[in-house]
């Protein structure tokens, strides 16, 4: 097993990870970036190092260029699965390697909220993020008839990108309830802090119209049917039931932190009722509470968007460098102050987005036959029944249903489980089901070879 030593290890090469790397290098630290993707960029900047299409935020390319020039060691295809003291273990091509780093920054980003819709596990049902991943990462677009369904600015953004690339979606089925706009407006004052965001939102609506993409607003009761793959999508809108033939359905209902690694390392999380997702418990802005020398930045902490992720990445690098002694207190304060100010202003802008685009495709709205746990094939109905039979917390529910015990280890179902529980039992226990080592599936041989320590295993019962 190779043993490399760095001042700081960063997990994730999206906006937060890249920004942390650039900042840490600027401060003179040696940096390793462990990236489970084949190339830098994370999700929203996927493909940015070898662009096949040009749709990136304007701060994306400069960041990517700076990252590539920074001298940080980038390890693609590296899945971090454990940490022991300052030693990080990661799996690459089925083999485990390790490196040592005094500081760890987790920048594992976000993932699509698992949309709980009848038919969601059929082949040719994907997420909108998946479509973007295919386009930006592999230069592919849908070939047949496809629709985008769900809620969030990404829906319109994606529809436009694909239409402009010559693959127009047959429809946008928008589940954002129209009744939300008025109550959300008071929070829109924060948008004035981020005028670019406001203009972008309006611009998206205008462009969608001009491209002639049919938009069904206020949709609900989505159901996808098909035998070997998705064939029809049904929904209700404007009091009518609509039915459309499809080859592909892309769902989107916002994003949630991709925090399994942090939790398996011992980080604690709290349940955010408004956004129906877990958020990391932090000490200050970037330090992960309860862990030694571990910081976190970006959407894996809480969903604040790509630009905030960049700011947080820089802050995390500065905080870590300060703790390690690379930056004195005064320089640290001088460098972090403007970043913190900018962060506060931009957070105010999110309040409207969070309210207006709060989740819509939650299990509480889904029929009993929708799948809640994909890996273990557990339906929403089964979970409802177990709650009715007395399972009053996430742990009891997990034990009673097996939700979260499959290969994805709850990535696609824990938020749904907690959300349904919150809906049925407002004072339920939301303690995050525990996640331990390995944070990614590894072979028994990889585990066996990771530690040549004492014999702990006896054979007597």
């Amino acid at each position: 097993m190779t043993r490399d030593r760095y001042d700081i290890a960063i997990v994730g090469a999206g906006p937060a990870g890249m920004a942390a790397a650039v900042e840490a290098r600027r401060l003179g630290l040696s940096v390793a970036v462990l990236d489970d993707q084949p190339a830098a960029g994370g999700q929203i900047l996927r493909g940015i190092t070898r662009p096949m299409t040009g749709h990136y935020e304007k701060w994306g390319q400069p960041l990517a260029s700076a990252f590539q020039a920074s001298g940080a060691a980038h390890l693609p295809g590296a899945a971090v699965w454990a940490r022991e003291g300052s030693r990080l273990l990661y799996s690459m091509n089925g083999e485990t390697r390790s490196l040592v780093a005094g500081a760890l920054v987790l920048a594992t980003g976000s993932m699509e909220r698992p949309a709980v819709v009848a038919g969601n596990t059929l082949p040719s049902v994907v997420t909108v993020g998946a479509l973007q991943s295919l386009m930006k990462g592999s230069g592919c677009v849908p070939a047949g008839r496809f629709v985008l369904a769900g809620n969030g600015p990404l829906l319109l953004l994606c529809a436009i990108q694909f239409a402009e690339a010559g693959a127009r979606p047959a429809a946008i089925i928008q589940t954002t309830p129209s009744s939300r706009l008025l109550p959300a407006l008071p929070k829109a004052a924060g948008l004035l802090f981020d005028p670019a965001l406001l203009m972008k939102g309006l611009g998206l609506l205008v462009r969608t119209r001009s491209l002639g993409i049919p938009l069904h607003a206020g949709a609900r009761d989505i159901r996808i049917d098909g035998t070997a793959q998705a064939e029809t999508i049904r929904f209700r809108a404007r009091g009518r039931t609509m039915e459309m033939p499809v080859d592909l359905v892309a769902l989107h209902d916002g994003v949630v932190p991709n925090d399994n690694l942090a939790v398996s390392l011992g980080a604690k999380t709290t349940w955010n009722c408004e956004l129906s997702c877990y958020e990391l418990v932090m000490e200050g802005v970037t330090k992960v509470a309860g862990l030694d020398n571990v910081w976190a930045a970006g959407d894996s902490v809480a969903i604040h968007g790509g630009y905030q992720a960049m700011l947080a990445g820089r802050l995390a690098a500065l905080d870590a460098a300060h703790t390690l002694g690379f930056v004195d207190a005064q320089s640290h304060k001088t460098a972090t102050a403007p970043l913190l100010r900018q962060r506060r202003r931009l957070l105010a802008a999110r309040r409207f987005l969070d309210a207006y685009y709060a989740p819509t495709l939650l299990p509480e709205q889904a029929p009993d036959d929708a799948t809640l746990c994909r890996c273990e094939e557990v339906s929403v109905g089964t979970v409802r029944r177990k709650i009715a039979e007395g399972a009053a917390g996430t742990r009891a529910l997990k034990a009673a249903t097996r939700c979260g015990m499959g290969p994805c280890q709850g990535r696609q179902c824990t938020v749904s489980l907690a959300s349904l529980l919150a809906h049925e039992i407002p004072h339920a226990q939301f303690e995050r089901p525990s996640l331990r080592v390995p944070a990614r599936p590894i072979t028994v041989a990889e585990l066996a070879e990771s530690h040549l320590g004492m014999r702990h295993t006896g054979s007597d019962a």
Binding site: D36, T121, G139, C375, C408
Partner: protein, 92 residues
Amino acid sequence: MLFRRLDEKRASAIITFDGKPLAAFEGESVAACLLRHGVGFTRLTPSGAKRAPYCLMGACFECTMTVDGHTNVQICLTRIRDGMVVERSSDI
């Protein structure tokens, strides 16, 4: 054929799926390649239901297949390589 390429480049590699050669493009993921070729599903669940790639970023584990003899590889995170052999993970 669920997906198509945006550019007009020629394929630069051949991978094998289920014994059949598939034209592949440098830099694309194995998942993208299979989806372009209309491969309908990547795996079966314990109850025998067909599943295909869903998140395309390594968070759902629906796309796990056997690649060059390594079982349960997430093909959305794997770039194609000329000569790669991809199969559905059989009953292991």
